[in-house]
């Protein structure tokens, strides 16, 4: 189990980049998988930082990552506002260039690059489990 705890600040993205790079090297993951893991986490954490907290205080976001039998499982725990991204899908890829809205794209990419998502709200905390197959 690999754990990283970050604050709800822009610096967290650099910590996540280094965390994923270390995992990628340790487990000899392909650049594509490393890229996709980084993308999934950036989109999730950026969304939380932008929209998840209704105060200006510091909050901790905990990431636990485990790799077993060609499956990467990441559990993210935080005390952001309740947000079930499984039901969230604003991006419509069929819209024309002029109609395209910029919002919702990050969550859409995250969902496309994840094989399974499980969300729970417990004790005023969000618990999101992301599963991604390696092959």
């Amino acid at each position: 189990m690999h754990t990283l705890t970050v604050l709800n600040s822009a610096d967290s993205l650099i910590q996540i980049e280094n965390f994923i790079l270390e995992i990628q090297n340790n487990y000899k993951l392909s650049p594509k998988i490393g890229f996709e893991l980084n993308l999934i986490l950036e989109e999730l954490i950026t969304n939380k930082i932008k929209y998840g907290f209704s105060d200006d205080l510091e909050h901790l976001i905990e990431l636990n990552l485990n790799i077993e039998n060609n499956l990467i499982v990441i559990k993210i725990i935080d005390d952001a506002d309740e947000f079930d991204l499984i039901d969230y899908d604003k991006n419509d890829i069929n819209k024309s260039i002029r109609e395209k809205e910029v919002g919702g794209l990050g969550i859409y990419l995250l969902k496309e690059k994840t094989d399974e998502l499980i969300y729970e709200r417990n004790d005023n905390k969000n618990i999101l489990i992301l599963k991604k197959k390696i092959s």
């Binding site: 993205l13 650049p31 996709e36 993308l39 989109e43 950026t46 991006n91 890829i93 069929n94 990419l109």
Partner: protein, 100 residues
Amino acid sequence: MDILTENKDKLVTLKITGRLDTNTAPDLEKKLTEILDAGYVNLTIDFDELDYISSSGLRVLLIAAKDLDEVSKKITFINVKDYIKEVFDIAGFTILFDFK
């Protein structure tokens, strides 16, 4: 992220090195705004040394694509890694750009 600009015969080529993410996308947005405001419409971006792109980077490119669409022009991308091209495909952005 580093951006190298080459301007030759009204064609602007940008070479982006490193990561185009939430933290660096504003730098590219500024650069693209400068180029488009100066009236350049023939724009090529070399992604050979681009390792990473997120939705923030895609958004900046989309904004520039919308501006150029008004004069029926598209940004040309060269040397795009497969896994980065795939993100453009998923986002439905592929038709907005010329990939070479």
